[in-house]
Amino acid sequence: MGVAIEHETWVGRSPARVEDDALLRGEGRFMDDLEPVPHAWHAAIVRSQLAHAHVSVDATAARELEGVAGVVTGEDVARLSRPFPAAIDSPTPHYATAVGTARYVGEPLAVVVARDRYLAEDAAELVAVDYEPLDPVVDPAAAEPIHERRFHYGDVDDAMARAALVVRTTFRVPRWTGLPVECYGVVCDWDEAAGRLTAWANFQGPFTLHGVAAAALGLRGDRLRVLTPPDSGGSFGVKAAVLGYVVLLGLASRALGVPVRWTEDRLEHLAGSSASTGRITEVEAGFAVDGELLALRYDALEDVGAYVRAPEPATLYRMHGSLAGAYRVRNVAARNRLVLTNTIPSGLNRGFGGPQLYYGLERTMAIAARRLGLDPAEVARRNLVRADEMPYRTPSGALYDSGDYEACLDRALDASGYRELRATADRARADGRLVGVGLACVVEPSISNMGYITLAQTAVERAGTLPKSGNAEGASVAVDPLGGITVRLGTTPQGQGHRTVAAQVVADELGCTPEDVSVLAELDTATTPWTVASGNYSSRFSGVGVGAVRAAARKVREKADAIREHLGEPEASLRRVAGTAHWSPESLPDGMEPGLTAIAFHSTPNLDPPDAEDRVASSGAHGVIVDVCAVEIDRGTGAVTVTDYVSVHDAGTLLHPALAEGQVLGGFAHGVGAALFERHGYDEDGNPTTASLVDYVTPTAPDIPRLTVEHLESPSPFTALGAKGLGEGTTMSAPVAIANAVADALGRDDVELPLTAPRVWELANSARDTVSRTQDPPPARGEGDEE
């Protein structure tokens, strides 16, 4: 751990979570546990069985089954709603169901509503779908791009010409999912008289999507009331896309005149919910002979699946300010292209663009180090942004807030016994074993700038629209007449412990204990203070979520202090003050409002809209991570065993160290899954080959290596309490750290994610690629390998 600090505050300690007691007793309140509307009917969804086809749906037999309220088809959806808006134009309008043409296996075609779920599924079987097959596109490399933008910072051509070594490599990052254990759940209740839809859903934000759903439904914001349940069974980004089903079930409720509920099953989830993007990136990097990175050029082809679904193409742009990663290189260029394939649409997923970017960048750094005959750690050191440069403006516009990246590197090398790991690996390889060491240095951005997505437009196009910037959050702190304190959040947690931390923050402001504070995490768009940016994504809670809570609590404290002063009772209890504010407005200072409730909104500074040169501060805070790992490969089976893994984080101030640790461990598990097991597979006809949890392999306990986590704490000058997000970083770093170790063990660079045993066996038992471990002087200019 970092330097020992004596904490006189609740923040910085690790009290027991307030969430746990109910969850341990089975008394959590998850979406499918709720019956917010009496007598809701149950929906089952008919989904496309072909990846690309004209479809016509005949629901006559289903409608005639006893106990069926009705069936809503694509024709109804086209009549009653509009396509979902997205940040870029797309050739394929996206509705809540397929309208005429289905574009992926699992796309909704119709909704059947019946008295219970079993009956609804019976009726769904009676829906006849006539398919007229069309050619599917599954390979993104074979698809026609629908979006292209080019970016250039510094002088890449000049720097590349000066390079002693140019490495050019193509990397493919597959698609995977955060895979929450709880699937989507929705209850929709259309009020015809009021023209209002009330929807309960285990939504996680961003609440930009509330506007997207309202637009699809043709409703004003106040006519789409969305409520989230008290508990949500994980999300990792994935449950952002549940709002598409709020539209679908909302239309069903409206069309059929009954409240409707639907809980997604796992097969539906794997086929049709949401997955990360896939990315093919050619990375060209120029290096000086001493390892200095002189220039970087990316050519990225992003596969978003069947539709550009909001907030896409955000995965391509979320990391834009951090294109250079943790490095000082000033010459950076990128071409971003987007393609559609007949596969599951993409969306938020833990790491969101980070794994895709860093896989190419950090593999390139490892390949270059080997070619230069240098240790990867020393190449990293040569290039890391320096502590005395903070805050550091990257060429593409991010403002890195704080941190000593080299100190993190040193800590990781020390903690892992790096030199000894390398020596051990060398000896093991000399004995014929396949042992390797990998490194990854990544910057973990958090608190996304709402304006970064407008980089998908040119500066000229942007000039014609209203600006988007910042990342605002709301919270309220209310003190009742008995002095009880109730906090409401806009950050829709799914297990991160926001209620626990909010209580710590309020306790520090109001001079009470966390037990004195009740925190409600369920969000209601009609009553919770929220903004378009609200929700639980881009690891934003510890920055802006906490900022809003503290600001609201501070308003309450300041008002309470003013009342105390006016009463001449500086030591008056909060209960006494609240009693006065509620019971006796005449006793308050002149002009003071009665009551003791504060609403506050908070945003992180420096998050301007993109500038005319396409620079953007895409995130509000930036942590840093240095990972070192060692692997051994079983030549007989291809199985990769991670034998050592050290992850050193600097995420600023840790608000609750035990919860921070939990976020790192969880992010690591997702990274290990992506490294070794996980991908959404499709055959050439677009049929999912990972359609159940038997085939979509995600780690269980025996698959997770022992992880050593260390923290440094360089407070962010830009967040309320100095904290930065840390929930996603190890998901960004672990896939490439492990890949670097596997490439090192194999002595070849043509590795590809996921590093499954069959795939690694092939590499371990086939002709070596062009890599030679002891390469003499680096080639003057070299073409790279194809990965």
Partner: protein
Amino acid sequence: MTAIELTVNGRVVRETVEPRLLLTDFLRHRLGLTGTHVGCEHGVCGACTVMLDGASVRGCCVLAVQADGCSVETVESLAGNGPLTALQESFRRHHALQCGFCTPGILMAATDLLARTTPTRAEIVDLLSGHLCRCTGYTPIVDAIEACVESARARSGGT
């Protein structure tokens, strides 16, 4: 429809059900015992694990009619209205849950394991190969169960 009689968390229950009704749906939607969670309905994730006649089973792979005449225990039975069990306390102390959705199934499987044996760490890890947790990375769960084994051993004076 089939009449069934079973004991659920010590209480005798008589209901009439469709033969195809899953035990999980029976527990959750007929009896209101929503602590048993459903994550995959094909026997992989383990979230629905309950005790059936004293052995942990996947509730999603059992029909309610198959539980006729049986005794079923769910997560709600562990602490009842009283204090948390030692295992539940250990989960809390070790931050072995985040979203808590997989937790009831893991608690039931671990309760079963601890009732039968004094597991080694490797055996605990092996047990958890039958459960998906996407939040914790598993290590804190293993720690929590292992700590329970350790404290039980200390209480019994063993080594």
